[in-house]
């Protein structure tokens, strides 16, 4: 039995500055929540062929039946049409966002239209307010925006404040949406969609009670899961955070460095989770309801440029992926340089991954003399982080045509300026930080949101250790993994807890305590069906993966278990296309 308030959808129309609340029991009963409900709402609300930066684009935030009730059920799913890829946009973030949406009394929020002036929204229980954001539009630093809204709104200390920076205002196609300073709906340009709607921020909070079908069983099941989440299953994320991955990936030769020209360099130790923890780690924080506290924040003390005895101390969040994109990919060898780039990225409101990969591509273009400083305005050189600080600023302020193109993504820029073979994007989304073998590249090339988290091909590569099955089988395995993950993102739980919630007994027991009876097979079929729904949306919007779109660089630089075979990749993609035509058309 789904709870009444959870099955409510809040529809906000920015053009009319109006809102309605509708019970959508039908959607939640069929699709659970999160991604499952989100993709349906996108199909209902966002007409085929919609321009992602037009008022018709629709932003959906959704949570799931386990949100706020179980450990690591702490993520919000954002679904929209991506201005970066022109196709399905899906991005996940934690912080307080999920519990805040649930506590405000909604399972999903739909935002459409475009305001005539910059606004921010506050959503507290049944109250939605539109606030004038003209004075905060254009503020240099997205962190300051958070500070200002914090002072103006209620629910101090227990709310979620989602906001964009200048990157979003300027419609950089890979602008991110920041929540609680350190978490992001990072990928695929949700920040630009906010910007296109003149929407600067959303503040949301609430406090309410959730009645349970079986409170006693709830206490029992919760304890079991909390014990599991605090056990060694999660240790990896607990101690060093995701930055723990840097050294092992470097050791096996899977860490992309200097635009994936190599996988080994002498900066890895300096940028490792170990070094950052030892010399910079200042605080760890958690998403609401998660005991793990994987969010690692560095304390960085920097002397004032001109004035002696003036110091600025910044708290800068770090994770594996930004270390890769703003660090190793740009050949940075100093932790200080990486942290400054990270800080700048946060302030501008860019997706760290796309921004780093875009600058890495620009550097190689310059090195190969395909473009000159006339385009880049800055003499980029791998390792020179000070130049990249200016590069990040230029992506956002777009002083010339080159940066205007780069702000539309690496794929777009390479279509104009060349260098496609080393423009590391997949499905028009910039590459994540793994060069582990064919599974990882196939995974995000064929995945619905072109993310390493779609199907974790990087993990498959490392488990297979070079003993690859037939390409068709590998693709089938990736699709199965991606289908299973749709269950996680509809419950909604963090993918770091996949070992716990893809133990289906756990999930079945959790759902029982809130009166939902689903079998393992029903859950798995639901995952497959949500995957099909996403793929049908993607094909509807014109996506068909082609072998020719793979950047050739991935075949040139050896992966840990040898060079990636072009033939293998070709066959895998052909098989995927056959399956797509059979199932998802």
């Amino acid at each position: 039995m789904f709870e009444d308030k959870f099955t409510r959808v809040l529809y906000i129309d920015l053009s009319k500055k109006s809102f309605t609340i509708r019970s959508r029991r039908d959607l939640f009963e069929r699709w659970l929540g999160g991604t499952g409900v989100g993709i349906q709402l996108l199909k209902e609300e966002c007409p085929q062929g919609t321009d992602p930066l037009s008022p018709d684009n629709t932003i959906i935030f959704s949570v799931g039946p386990l949100t706020s009730l179980y450990p690591l059920a702490s993520k919000t799913i954002a679904i929209f049409k991506s201005p970066l890829t022109g196709n399905l946009g899906e991005s996940h973030a934690g912080g307080r966002s999920a519990v805040s949406i649930m506590m405000a009394g909604y399972g999903a929020i739909v935002i459409k239209g475009k305001s005539d002036i910059p606004v921010y929204l506050s959503i507290f229980d049944n109250e939605v307010r539109f606030h004038d954001a003209r004075a905060i539009w254009g503020i240099k630093d997205a962190i300051t925006v958070g500070k200002i809204i914090r002072q103006r709104e209620t629910f101090s200390g227990q709310r979620s404040i989602m906001r964009i920076g200048r990157a979003g205002e300027n419609l950089v196609r890979f602008a991110s949406l920041n929540t609680e300073t350190y978490r992001h709906f990072g990928r695929l340009g949700l920040g630009a969609v906010f910007g296109s709607k003149n929407l600067k921020a959303v503040v949301i909070a609430g406090k309410r009670t959730i009645n349970l079908a079986d409170p006693k069983a709830y206490i029992r099941v919760y304890k079991k899961l909390l014990d599991e989440t605090t056990s060694n299953l999660m240790e990896k994320y607990h101690d060093l955070g995701t930055a723990v991955n840097v050294l092992p990936l470097h050791e096996i030769g899977g860490l992309p460095i200097e635009n994936l020209n190599k996988t080994s360099y002498d900066g890895a130790k300096e940028l490792s989770g170990e070094n950052l923890a030892q010399n910079y780690l200042g605080r760890r924080i958690a998403c609401t309801g998660c005991p793990v506290a994987c969010v690692h924040i560095a304390t960085f003390r920097d002397p004032h440029e001109e004035e002696k005895y003036f110091y600025k101390t910044s708290m800068i969040g770090y994770d594996y992926e930004p270390i890769y994109s703003l660090g190793t990919m740009l050949g940075i060898k100093e932790a200080k340089g990486f942290l400054k780039l990270m800080d700048k990225t946060e302030k501008l409101g860019l997706d760290a991954m796309s921004a780093g990969v875009a600058l890495a591509w620009a550097t190689e273009m310059l090195n190969k003399n395909i473009i000159s400083e006339k385009e880049t305005l800055i003499k980029f050189s791998f390792g020179d982080w000070e130049k990249y600080l200016d590069g990040l600023e230029n992506i956002v302020s777009m002083p010339n045509d080159f940066y205007k193109a780069l702000a539309r993504g690496t794929n777009y820029a390479s279509e104009i300026y060349g260098g496609k073979d080393f423009a590391l994007n997949f499905g028009k989304n910039e590459m994540p930080g793994y060069h582990t073998g064919p599974a990882t590249h196939l995974g995000w090339f064929l995945g619905a949101r072109h993310s390493h988290l779609d199907n974790a091909g990087y993990s498959m590569d490392q488990n297979l250790k070079g003993n690859y099955p037939a390409p068709e089988k590998l693709v089938d395995n990736l699709i199965e993994e991606e289908s299973n993950r749709q269950i996680l993102s509809s419950l909604v739980v963090c993918f770091f807890a996949r070992a716990i919630y893809l133990n289906f007994d756990n999930t079945i027991n959790c759902l029982k305590t809130i009166g939902i009876d689903l079998t393992k097979e029903e859950l798995k079929e639901l995952g497959r069906e949500i995957y099909r729904q996403k793929m049908s949306y993607k094909t509807q919007e014109g996506w068909l993966p082609s072998y020719l779109d793979l950047p050739k660089r991935i075949f040139e630089t050896p992966a840990p278990f040898g060079k990636i075979s072009e033939e293998y990749m070709k066959k895998a993609i052909e098989h995927f296309r056959t399956r797509l035509e059979q199932n998802f058309r």
Binding site: R208, T209, A286
Partner: protein, 137 residues
């Protein structure tokens, strides 16, 4: 008995104590939490944990117009719910801001010192002091 905040610097802001408190009462959500964690001006500044100190001479009881808050011999108060008219005087009176309002029932959330929050805290921020208020201590 009372809940003591022994190391607030270790708090990661997960709010698992708040959720535990509500779970112990047989519910989900946050409206019935008798303990609160909030950030202190942004996540980067760390967290503040608020919980009843189990005062021996509690100001909350002193301002209750209907004697709905009964002073316990071992410190703190018991809420006699049927006497409570929902005036919120107790919330105002609590110097450490540790009486929280349940706006769904229009009654205060009064800690009963069961220790369940401390048992659930994954980072040893809270300590359940069972000796507090005992005569021979």
């Amino acid at each position: 008995m009372r809940i003591e905040i022994i190391d607030p610097d270790r708090c990661v802001g997960c709010e698992i104590c708040m959720l535990a408190c509500v779970r112990r009462q047989g519910f989900g959500g946050l409206a019935k939490a008798k303990i609160a964690v909030h950030s202190s001006g942004g996540m980067e500044k760390g967290f503040t944990v608020l919980v009843c100190r189990a005062c021996f001479d509690p100001p909350c009881a002193a301002v209750c117009p209907t004697n709905a808050l009964e002073v316990r011999k071992d410190g703190g108060v018991n809420l006699i719910s049927e006497k409570c008219i929902g005036c919120k005087n107790c919330v105002e009176a609590c110097t450490v801001n540790s009486i929280f309002w349940d706006s769904e029932t229009n009654k205060p959330n009064i800690c009963i010192y069961c220790g369940f929050c401390a048992m659930n805290c994954p980072h040893h921020v809270l300590y359940f002091n069972k000796e507090w208020g005992k005569k021979d201590v």
